[in-house]
């Protein structure tokens, strides 16, 4: 057993981290989020590097890598809170792949088209101005949305939209793609959590009160330790789920629900703790802690919140136990 990234996967992570640190720093995030616009130049660059198509099959013009690699990129983009339509495009591809699509995948892989995926009635990231928006109704039936209503979400680092009814083009059952999508969202939240932890740790080492860094106070230390536990726990669950998707798909549903439930709750906690550990300054716009807090709120609700996924886990485990007894 080897539950660590391979050398190639580590290389992808390092490259992504370096690129985003150079190209998608806080100044860039602020500029685009305040202007409610995407960073088109960065997106173009990421498309040229093949990021949107990393997990799309080579026969559709993608790189043909796995969900683990896709999660590595999603995590780093969450870390940067980058203002690019990556998540929507990657998730649309997962759903369309599950539906057996051949038309959209090459366009999504190359970045020629943007996509989005979400539930009817919910806030769907990257849905505005997307070329293809896959929506799922309460019974799990997917279709391509005809109309998208733009919504100004509290997370202004990307454009959210709402779709109120199924589209004319039906895609059937895409549930396998939805489970994979959950894992990618969880990976984004892990990146969001890691960034919040790093920001908080850096701040409490510097900020002095009573003549000492506030990071010497046990109450502060224990909060930071909890953030680490929550982040690392999310990372374990997410990469396990990502691995099952390609290696043991029969375990994916439960693993994906687990990753999404944990990161939804703990992501909000951790990003909130970052604000708390910054004290009053953390509550200001300038401190920038809020970007990740807001992203965590939208991600937590997206494709079902923690409670819904816990309910699903108990159904799955209950059924498995009943099956084992019978």
């Amino acid at each position: 057993m080897r539950f660590t990234l391979s050398d190639d996967q580590n290389e992808i992570k390092r490259t992504a981290k370096d690129l985003l640190a150079a190209r998608a720093g806080v100044a860039a995030l602020r500029e685009h989020a305040e202007g409610a616009k995407y960073d088109d130049a960065l997106w173009k660059e990421l498309c040229e590097l093949g990021w949107p198509g990393i997990a799309i099959g080579e026969d559709h013009g993608g790189q043909g890598l796995g969900l683990v690699e896709l999660c590595v990129l999603a995590e780093e983009l969450g870390y940067a809170c980058a203002a690019v339509p990556f998540l929507g495009t990657a998730l649309a591809a997962l759903a369309l792949e599950a539906a057996g699509d051949t038309e959209w995948l090459p366009k999504l892989a190359s970045g020629e088209a943007r996509g989005a995926l979400g539930r009817i009635g919910d806030l769907i990231p990257d849905a505005v101005d997307a070329d293809v928006v896959v929506v799922v109704d309460g019974d799990g039936n997917a279709s391509i949305a005809d109309d998208v209503e733009a919504v100004d979400a509290i997370d202004s680092s990307r454009r959210y939209g709402r779709v109120n009814s199924p589209g004319a083009t039906s895609l059937g059952d895409v549930s396998a793609g939805l489970d994979r999508a959950l894992v990618v969202v969880a990976a984004e939240i892990v990146g969001v959590m890691q960034r919040s932890l790093d920001m908080a740790v850096e701040y409490v080492k510097e900020r002095k009160q009573f003549g000492v860094p506030v990071g010497t106070f046990q109450s502060v230390q224990h909060k930071a330790a909890q953030m680490l536990l929550d982040t690392e726990g999310g990372r374990s669950a997410t990469y396990f789920a990502a691995w099952t998707a390609d290696a043991q798909p029969e375990r994916l549903s439960s693993a994906a629900a687990m990753a999404k439930a944990w990161t939804s709750d703990r992501g909000r906690e951790t990003t909130g703790s970052n604000i708390q550990l910054h004290g009053g300054i953390g509550f200001t716009w300038e401190a920038d802690a809020h970007w990740w807090y807001k992203r965590a709120q939208l991600d937590a609700a997206f494709l079902g919140g923690a409670g819904e996924h816990r309910a699903r886990i108990s159904q799955l485990v209950g059924a498995e136990r009943a099956g084992a007894a019978a």
Binding site: M1, V201, Q226, L228, E232, G233, S236, F240, S314
Partner: protein, 379 residues
């Protein structure tokens, strides 16, 4: 990333499973002494089968198993409802510490009877006034010819009544800074200067003891790692404390959770969204601590040093075990609150989990300082 066992790991597991199937531990006897004798006999059988010191190097009679195989060993033990070997402190703590710090004579003398459970070991570290602040311990050792004369008090000494030897840390230099004046002794428990008094815990059982040490004598040759080096040697012991054991405990947690799912399924309680939510939360915690423990081992195997994962597992396990055993009465009924039942024992015993082997508060300090590199806290 590959979360399946390798061929050699699978072979190891299958061989162990076959052995466990052919050598079932039998039903657990009630009564403390009978239970202990059963676990001692169990270790003898493990030893005869070559499974007592799986993680020990072959030169010391072990199997030379990798970290992952050691984890598999403890998982399989748990899955087979087998007990931990009686000399668990000798196997996990004393043995590895002696391997690192012992002289050739010490290794030859002490290691074989640890494996065979001929000589049981206990750990004399904590004192009434030195718990989390271990280096503040006061038990004193004074040189007298070829001997050291030891006087003081130790506490939380599990298995002391069955032990031949004690890993004892005592102060040999009262003028040195507190971490520097300590020495590590291998103390014979069978002498008039050592008195073992059972300490009754909240479960009602005397799982732990107090040691009253009054001019006990330890020959100079039983010093481990040299005079004044006790803190370093003790850290070796403490570093070993959680290795492996976590996988056994994690399996036990999973088994109890499965029982609760079964019970909730039978009674219909699983249809109650609050119950389903609470059980799912426990499932997630249990899975995440298992996965994080495996991740921690993979990091050590690959990079040669531990990442942050290992320090999180005990914290998560102890919290989760408390949550689970507190949920149980709502599902299994009044039986779980009736004195003498297994669930009521588990409920009460779990309360110690966030204290023993390092309190959760100290673990959080360690995580903050060593993993997050925050400045050292005022205590």
């Amino acid at each position: 990333m590959d979360l399946t066992f390798t061929e050699s790991e699978t072979a190891f597991r299958d061989e162990l499973r076959d052995w466990l199937e052919a050598n079932p531990p039998g039903a657990e006897p009630t009564g403390e002494d009978d239970n202990y004798a059963w676990r001692r006999d169990w270790q003898r059988r493990l030893h005869e089968g070559g499974w007592a010191g799986v993680h020990w190097p072959t030169e010391y009679g072990g199997r030379g198993a990798s970290l992952m195989e050691t984890a598999i060993f403890f998982e399989e033990l748990g899955k087979a409802a087998a007990p931990l070997p009686a000399n668990v402190l000798g196997l996990l703590l004393a043995g590895p510490t002696i391997m690192i710090w012992g002289t050739d004579e010490q290794k030859e003398r002490y290691l074989p009877p640890i494996l065979s459970a001929e000589e049981i070991w206990c750990q004399g570290f904590s004192e009434p006034e030195a718990g989390s602040d271990l280096a503040g311990l006061k038990t004193r050792a004074v040189r007298d010819g070829d001997d050291w004369v030891i006087t003081g008090q130790k506490v939380w000494t599990s298995g002391a009544q069955y032990s031949k030897w004690c890993m004892l840390v005592a102060r040999t230099d009262f003028d040195a800074p507190k971490h520097k004046g300590l020495s590590y002794f291998l103390m014979d428990m069978e002498q008039p200067g050592v008195q073992v008094v059972p300490l009754r815990q909240i479960t009602g059982d005397p799982e732990f003891n107090e040691l009253f040490i009054e001019e006990a004598r330890v020959p100079h040759e039983n010093l481990l790692g040299g005079e004044g080096n006790g803190w370093k040697v003790a850290l070796t012991t403490l570093m070993n404390e959680r290795a492996g054991l976590g996988f056994f405990l994690q399996v036990r947690l999973r088994q109890m959770l499965d029982e609760l799912y079964d019970e909730a399924g039978r009674s219909g309680a699983l249809d109650d969204p609050r119950v389903a939510d609470a059980l799912a939360d426990l499932h997630i915690r249990t899975e995440i601590l298992r996965l994080t423990a495996y991740r921690g081992l993979s990091v050590i195997e690959q990079y040669g040093q531990p990442g942050p994962e290992g320090s999180l597992v005990k914290w998560l396990w102890s919290e989760t075990n408390q949550m689970l055993t507190q949920l149980a009465p709502g599902l299994v009924g009044t039986d779980a609150l009736t004195a003498g039942t297994r669930w009521s024992y588990e409920l009460l015993r779990a309360r110690g989990n966030t204290i023993e082997g390092g309190t959760t508060e100290i673990l959080k300090n360690i995580v903050a300082e060593r993993v997050l590199s925050l400045p050292r806290a005022g205590r």
